[in-house]
Symmetry: C2
Subunit: 697 residues, 2 copies
């Protein structure tokens, strides 16, 4: 559908200019690099630019079909008019390069909304505003004002920052890295990452998808699309504004509303996206994917002519969770055949300082044939005897043919430059440090897992939604937004076990309730005004007989009156005391970008300051629920470590799935928490002890 945007027969430049240094001239010149393309300058003040006939208006262009694509570079306030004219002229695709929109304040935002309406009215597709333009090396289109040359390649890149487009193109030009499509997203008023992910998915010239994003426009849709696309092509994203400082900077930059970083981490993970921590990492990973097959495991062979570099690389592998390979006997024997006696025949293989290209070739051949090796890292230091370009040549040939990934780190400066040139001529990256090569190898390994993960969709759980609906409606009709203990029964609609509990408004009622359920019991204050019950003495544990209940009731009432004299108290709740379990928390917050963000963690004091919690965007699959539970650091405590019995993890997983269904069914629930969920030993289930949720007002 975006075919004509990236492979047009004719392109109009609205705001074309004769003046060198002006954007309207730079765009024109870039387009004219492709002699087969019909380029139409639009400018009311001149008749001709760079030998092309110039028209005052797109409507005045002769013929029925005016242009497949219009690139707009006029000042912001004139942009809506130009778009309107494009619409009238039947132009279906526009790129708005001009700045001065949402990123520039209130008036800009109004102009941007106007552009969006016009696009909707005419059914037009728009990239930008506030962007650098686009490049398609396969079709030969350069509809940008970029000053750099873009080489052909298989990496599709989109960036929400025009300057980062420039930086990337400049970096790529120096080392000869290439791109299939290059898109400056700008303010993403109409077209955004989701549309382009789908474009790249079906683009035969794209093998790798890379992006710099400051936010995503539609989180839930993004996850769905990324899940599908990541099965065929790796998606590598650097998302800035990770921290609160960065987020503030983001909103002043492109006016993007930044969601929480935890939500991005969760959403990217669920979508199969590889998150890079920096621009450098994104580019490093992209280049590894652009040339390497995927490793089927995490066992890496290192070949080096410098012991020290080998050790540093082994350290880096270990830190990244990669293993140093254990070679077969036969591999070691074959290495011994040609390598000098003082060489190291175990991983890392040290071919010694005077090794030539033939020894590197032999060592690479031998280790790659070993069934225990999934990939290799080649390290070359420029020692006095080292034939750097010769080794580069051999290694490059291997990389091109190998069925296992090979990455290299020619380490140094002056004397490795010739080797880098050789690698560049093959389109092969040289990593300037072994740590960078290792990080990229790790990305390849991780993507192998992503690509081959089980296809699973969240299942719709059966529930008594009618009961839940009536419950929510009743709660909504109350004035307060936050609901607690008294609303525990909503969990029953989703078959989540709830502790036996009864409400009592007076002391006699409390004693009666306790006797009815059997001792020991727990007493909790019931008040819409009290959120942290412990802080005001609002919880009493382990009450063993009527006397205990009486003493607890009286002192609780007096404590609460003391600490929170204004709190309205509606009574107390008695719960059956549950022993022998472990407390966990299941929660949900609505993220502005991704919607319902589920949280799981251990209960108690530790969770608060260890921040040891896991997240996922609902609705979740069984695998995602399991992962939420197993990915917290304190998982061994519930899985059972020395002296601890194993908890019923399956019941936690089931409860997560049920909460996921509940918050998906009722978008009016803004926040939700079961705290604690008491998890019993394996096979004995779990039970919700208290809840808290907030409804939309």
């Amino acid at each position: 559908m975006l075919e004509k945007m990236f492979n047009p027969n004719s392109v109009a430049v609205i705001g074309a200019s004769r003046t060198k240094g002006k954007v309207g001239r730079a765009v024109l010149e870039n387009l004219m690099q492709n002699s087969e393309l019909k380029v139409i300058p639009i400018n009311p003040n001149v008749d001709e630019i760079l030998g092309l006939p110039c028209y005052p208006n797109i409507i005045d262009v002769p013929g029925e079909a005016k242009a497949d694509l219009a690139v707009i570079v006029v000042p912001a306030k004139m942009v809506p008019g130009s778009i309107d004219e494009c619409g009238q002229a039947g132009v279906e695709n526009v790129i708005v390069i001009s700045a001065g929109f949402k990123e520039a304040g209130v008036e800009g935002a109004r102009l941007e909304r106007e552009c969006i309406s016009l696009c909707e009215q005419y059914g037009m597709k728009m990239i930008g505003p506030n962007c650098l333009g686009i490049i398609d090396t396969a079709s030969g289109l350069n509809a940008s004002f970029a000053a750099n040359v873009a080489y052909e390649g298989n990496i599709a890149l989109m960036s929400q920052s025009g300057a980062i487009c420039t930086v990337t193109l400049d970096w790529a030009e120096r080392i000869g890295a290439g791109f299939s499509k290059f898109i400056s997203l700008g303010n993403k008023a109409v077209l955004a990452e989701n549309e382009f992910l789908q474009l790249f998915e079906n683009d035969p010239s794209t093998a790798v998808i890379a992006a710099y994003l400051e936010g995503v426009k539609d989180g839930p849709e993004f996850i769905k699309i990324a899940q599908r696309v990541s099965r065929s092509k790796p998606i590598i994203i650097v998302k800035s504004g990770r921290t609160s400082v960065g987020s503030r900077a983001v909103s002043s930059h492109t006016g993007t509303l930044a969601g929480s970083d935890a939500a991005y981490n969760a959403g990217f993970k669920q979508g199969g996206v590889i998150r890079a921590d920096s621009l450098e990492e994104m580019l490093d990973y992209s280049r590894a994917f652009s040339v390497c097959p995927l490793p089927e495991g995490r066992n890496i062979a290192i070949i080096t002519n410098a012991g020290g570099l080998g050790i540093l690389t082994a350290d880096a592998c270990y830190n990244a969770g990669l293993s140093i390979a254990s070679f077969e006997e036969n591999t070691i024997e074959r290495l011994r055949e040609k390598l000098p006696a003082a060489a190291n025949f175990y991983d890392p293989v040290d071919v010694l300082g005077d090794a030539g290209a033939d020894l590197y070739e032999h060592a690479l051949d031998v280790v790659l044939e070993d069934i225990n090796v999934n990939g290799a890292i080649v390290l070359v230091s420029p020692q006095s005897m080292t034939d750097v370009p010769g080794i580069a040549e051999k290694v490059a040939e291997k990389i091109k043919k190998s069925k296992k990934p090979i990455l290299c780190n020619f380490a140094g400066g002056s004397r490795i430059a010739a080797g880098e040139d050789v690698l560049n001529s093959y389109g092969i990256p040289n990593y300037s440090s072994s740590e960078r090569a290792v990080a990229s190898m790790n990305a390849l390994c991780n993507y192998y897992t992503i690509k081959n993960r089980k296809q699973e969709q969240p299942e719709k759980l059966s529930s008594d939604t009618e009961f839940a609906r009536s419950f929510i409606n009743r709660a909504s009709s109350e004035k307060r937004r936050t609901h607690g203990l008294e609303s525990m029964d909503i969990l029953k609609a989703y078959d989540i076990p709830v502790v036996d509990s009864r409400i009592a408004k007076t002391l006699p009622e409390a004693i009666k309730a306790a006797e009815g359920m059997g001792y020991p019991v727990v007493m909790k204050i019931l008040s819409p005004d009290i959120s942290h019950k412990t802080d005001v003495g609002g919880i009493r544990l382990n009450l063993k007989h009527a006397d205990d209940v009486e003493r607890a009731y009286n002192s609780m009432m007096s404590d609460v009156r003391h600490y929170m004299p204004e709190a309205a108290v509606t009574g107390v709740q008695l719960q059956k005391m549950i022993g022998g379990g472990k407390e966990v928390i299941i929660g949900m917050d609505r993220d502005p970008q991704f919607g319902p963000l589920l949280m799981f963690g251990l209960g108690g004091t530790y969770v608060e300051f260890l921040k040891d919690v896991s997240f996922a965007v609902a609705p979740i699959t069984v695998a995602e629920a399991k992962h939420m539970v197993s990915s917290i650091k304190t998982y061994p405590l519930i899985a059972g470590v020395r002296g601890e019995t194993a908890s019923d993890i399956d019941s936690i997983v089931q409860t997560l799935l049920k909460v996921s269904q509940l918050v998906t069914d009722f978008p009016e629930i803004l926040e939700f928490e079961i705290n604690p969920l008491m998890v019993m030993p394996e096979g004995e289930g779990c039970v919700a002890m208290d809840i808290r949720f907030t409804l939309e007002s």
Copy 2:
């Protein structure tokens, strides 16, 4: 004392060669670059090399003083003979470049020991064997076979890997980075890092000390020297073999016995060393120190012409623990005066894409004058209007004059090359990513703290060493090496509070002991064969009367017989039950490189799998003891978080100091542990509940 090694008047090359490509020729040529140096080739087979008269033997060199320095490049087995001749000829300094020593196996190790003896016999200093040689750019000495040019600079570098020397020189040559002294350490048979740290300390041409090490030769001495040196010059070390995989590779590389990584971390920290995680980091940090003054705080201003880069850099600052500066009103006003209206006047300052050198200059001047700014990071993207070399020129001038550190990231490739050239000509580093610039700024900030830390020496605590000595002697006389509960009294010699406990050999004795100390009590099995008492039912808590003691005694005996029928049981220990405290652990292991390594952590299950412990090499100072306690992640739990009372941290600190003294006084204690130490609420002290230690056999 090493003066003549690095600034000799005459140098002999033993094993000098005419043949191009041979090490003996390369060394000769490098030495001859300095026309003022008297170079003397030694080779029995020729009379002259490269126009210099050649002698068969160093002894045959005419004159009284033969040479200030001899560089030996003959095969390993001939090296001891050559050293012996040097000794006879009165040569005081030798560099052995030849390989084939400790790193090559048993025979090599024997040869190396022979060289060491000869050096001791003649009082000679030796660098190597198995090294690349040394370079001193101030004196003009190049006594190495390095093929690269070494530029003058203020960074002194030593490396345990010759190949890493080569990589570093090659890297430096490409970008024009310079060194004061460059030392390939080789096998460190005689001279090692400790001697060179002291040399660099007093070297007027050295401002920054950098090292690649695979181990240190004398850990305790290293800490002492580094503590002193790091007060005047930064010491940046990359230590490889961090992981078990890497450590194995280290020992096969230079035959270094790798101590534990935890000990290196602790020793480096105590020595004021900045530990780099990679070669790249070491070089990045070194270059920042080589040009920048130190920042007096962690508030960083970012100046950028690209919003996206600014956000990524703000994220990186936050992750590194640096703050984005809050500008004074006046700063913002002054920025507004010259910057365009659409610019961002808050940190990160966005001067916009078309900014010229003058705007960068203005912005830098203004933010650096702000009292809230301690340092600046300048980001430059090559946009179409950007005068890259012009900006580089202005920024370089500022960096040279500024009293606050400025680091830069000219981001891109082709079009920033001209900017990099300008920076290189000023000796100023360009960081290829903002993350690398931020990491280096963080290193500058950290060193400011190190340089200004309080001078403190471990205090010798008074103790009843006589009592402790008799105790240790008695324990040593027993056959077993491991001692436990029954030896608690050794703590009393160091004034460490010990729980009231009594030993009982029979049930009646046990009841009598319990009645004597008062209920409730804890009962523990006493057996030299049982180390994990809990696993065999060897601990019973909260015994409240004689009946409890009887039941516990009988079932414990039966349990222990069941689980460990062969264990010799000498009785039980009764301890006063202590409630209301928190369990912590204080331990010590002897590290092969650093000696007594103290450990501190919380007790209980968490500590086992969170690995949340801190380390320091004994003897420790009060500040170090405090840091051990406060640096664990679970520190809030003992400091007091919501719902938790604060523990008596001072009593933990005192106990750490006492244990530090104990293990320093008695090197025959190989392992030591108080587990648990029960810490009471603030002001109420702590008490040791159980110990375990192992003596040298």
